[in-house]
């Protein structure tokens, strides 16, 4: 078990280093950090002095390690656009993004798995067919358009739900949450549906396909021949066997959720990290972009690690000791 985790961690290191190098290269060589700090009028002497002060005249590898060192201590530089420390900007906005992403994922999983199981068990029923057609439409609809259409329907036409912002948030130490107020929850509905929709359709289609596959397997036929109850067969035997691929997709899609939170946050003016990132891309605010890249890199590596550990928990075959010291 410990060996397994260590091996996975070792595999993650090159990825993190690669992400670090790219982030550093962006931070240091793209754009003009000195120009951004000095503004319009400065002499060459000024420039050289500041470069020396910031250590920008040192060899690249020294700068790289200092960049990493600073990043590890939460220092990602100053935003060109806002003029505030990048770390502060992120700390303010991370809770909004996390609450949105978690709500969207939970929503997607809670709807997608039962729907996928249903469509897998009764593939010919009209409900299943409707679900499949709906999911194809869902895949062809870009996230931003889902958001726009939801706003049109529920905010503009019906006036039921707010179309932008987080509503009232409650401060809990460094964290701000919208879960505790009615307006916060109302504000969460449309963005969470928008963000979760793609994931929902994907998971549903996958669960259905895996259920169909598993239900054809010999062990399910044998379970029927043993006279087990249908509920036990579907939810005890079949569903568990679909979990490994489903966990993979949920894990990988968590990455997609992070990515599309950029889009969703823009549509709903949700004050999260994604909106910050898109504003930075538009303004070529390199320090924020570099920090975002690092953050996303860490999130992805963590997700992959957790997915691997979940496999381990679900599938006993992976728990076999390695050849050499096994039975």
């Amino acid at each position: 078990m410990i060996v397994f985790i260590l091996a996975r961690l070792l595999q993650a290191i090159p990825v993190l280093i690669a992400v670090g190098v790219i982030a550093f290269a962006m931070f240091r060589y793209v754009g003009d950090p000195i120009g951004a700090m000095l503004g319009q009028d400065y002499s060459d002497a000024h420039r050289a002095e500041l470069m020396h002060k910031l250590g920008l005249d040192q060899p690249a590898y020294v700068q790289f390690f200092r960049f990493l060192w600073n990043a590890l201590h939460g220092n990602f530089g100053i935003s060109y656009r806002v003029g505030e420390p990048v770390a502060t900007l992120f700390a303010q906005r991370l809770p909004a993004t996390l609450e949105l992403a978690i709500t969207a994922t939970v929503l997607a999983v809670l709807v997608a798995i039962p729907a996928g199981v249903y469509a897998g068990i009764w593939p010919r029923s009209w409900v299943s067919r409707a679900l499949m057609v709906g999911s194809l439409l869902g895949v062809s609809l870009p996230t931003f358009l889902i958001g726009v259409l939801l706003i049109l329907a529920f905010s503009v036409q019906l006036g039921w739900l707010p179309s932008f912002g987080r509503g009232h948030v409650v401060h809990l130490g460094f964290w701000t949450t919208g879960f505790l107020t009615l307006s916060g929850l109302r504000a969460l509905v449309l963005p969470a549906i928008t963000l979760g929709m793609f994931e929902l359709t994907l998971i549903m289609r996958l669960v259905r396909a895996e259920m169909l596959e598993v239900l054809r397997s010999d062990y399910i036929k044998f379970a029927r021949a043993r006279g087990l109850r249908a509920r036990t067969i579907y939810f005890g035997h079949a569903l568990k066997n679909t979990l490994v691929p489903v966990i993979t997709i949920i894990g990988l899609q968590l990455g997609g959720v992070v990515a599309y939170s950029v889009v969703t946050e823009t549509v709903f003016q949700w004050p999260g990290v994604g909106l910050l990132f898109i504003q930075s891309v538009a303004a070529a605010d390199i320090p924020v972009m570099a920090a975002y890249l690092l953050l996303v890199g860490v999130v992805f590596v963590t997700i992959n690690l957790v997915v691997d550990l979940l496999y381990y928990a679900v599938d006993p075959r992976l728990r076999v000791e390695r050849p050499g010291h096994g039975r």
Partner: protein
């Protein structure tokens, strides 16, 4: 014959397809007495496995029973409601499948699979079910059963897994077990052990067995009577010794000429010229006539019924001519 445990009469199974209806089983009739082992032999596609699936009500759609009846201890069990049929499966009719590597759910311990089967059918506490599961593992020859019960399927060898499958089929003490090619997927060296185990358990528990195989050698070793299937019909049925010694149907004759020792299996019966017809091209009259060395004109137009021929019953016009 005493009252049969299982009675199958004129069982017909059809598959509707786009190009018409395929008749996969055509008026199959036989009976199994309590404690009897009936072998069922034939080439791939002759309808052996389908017969088993039809009896336990697990025909894969769109296959369906189109005619005839199946009686278990006198009561009809074809066309029972799904829930009633489920209660019969595992409790009154057990099943053993071909490939033990794929018939066990890889994600659950064998103990869990055994106890869930036992508790589905018998009113037992978890502890009682576990004791019974251990006893059954012991009985099918799993060493250190009390410890191994918490192991996962992948921790057992193929032969051991088939022993577990047998325990799963028998753990609720059904009166009848349908064993569909129980040794085909196993190593040759293991096959004899599994057959011996099945035979011993059937005798000790008084369980009747429908033993489906394409291996005439296994039948000769194990069965009391044998039914020979050809193109979805029974060609000949009778006591094993008689069928081997004096086969009445030309197809059986060809089959007997090819009995290999137990160590050998054969996929097709090479001793008979030609191949079994496909379901969409079964000839009129006797289905075997195009391959039959002794066919006469009548065989082309007249379908022979299963009638007594010496010590056995055969569906051949020549057998009682």
């Amino acid at each position: 014959m005493s009252a049969p445990l299982l009675g199958v009469a004129d069982l017909t199974v059809e598959f509707p397809t786009r190009r018409g209806i395929l008749r996969a089983l055509d008026a199959v009739s036989f009976a199994i007495a309590p404690g009897e082992i009936l072998g069922m032999v034939g080439e791939s596609g002759a309808g052996k496995s389908l017969t088993g699936a039809a009896i336990i009500g697990l025909l894969a759609p769109p296959g369906r029973i189109a005619g005839g009846e199946v009686r278990l201890e006198g009561a009809r069990i074809d066309h029972l409601p799904a829930e009633a049929m489920r209660r019969i499966r595992g409790r009154r009719i057990g099943a053993i499948f071909q490939d033990p590597l794929t018939t066990l759910n890889p994600l659950y311990t064998i103990g869990r699979q055994l106890t869930e089967t036992i508790r589905t059918h018998l009113p037992m506490s978890a502890a009682e079910a576990r004791t019974r599961a251990i006893r059954w593992l012991d009985e099918v020859g799993i060493p250190a059963a009390a410890r191994r019960i918490d192991a996962y399927p992948h921790e057992f060898s193929g032969g051991q897994r088939q022993r577990v499958v047998i325990a799963l089929a028998l753990c609720a003490e059904p009166r009848l077990v349908i064993a569909d090619e129980p040794t085909t997927a196993l190593d040759v060296s293991i096959q004899a052990q599994i057959i011996a185990l099945l035979k011993r358990l059937a005798r000790e528990h008084g369980t009747a067995v429908l033993l489906i195989t394409h291996d005439m050698g296994v039948i000769a070793e194990t069965a009391d009577r044998v039914a020979v299937m050809y193109a979805g019909r029974i060609a000949e049925i009778g006591p094993v010794a008689e069928v081997i010694r004096a086969p009445a149907h030309p197809y059986t004759e060809g089959l007997m000429a090819s009995i290999p020792p137990l160590e050998h299996r054969l996929e097709r019966l090479a001793q008979i010229e030609g191949a079994m017809p496909r379901l969409n091209a079964i000839p009129d009259g006797c289905a075997f006539h195009p391959r039959c060395p002794r066919a006469i004109d009548r065989c082309r137009g007249e379908r022979p019924a299963l009638t007594p021929a010496g010590a056995t019953m055969a569906a051949c016009l020549l057998a009682h001519a």
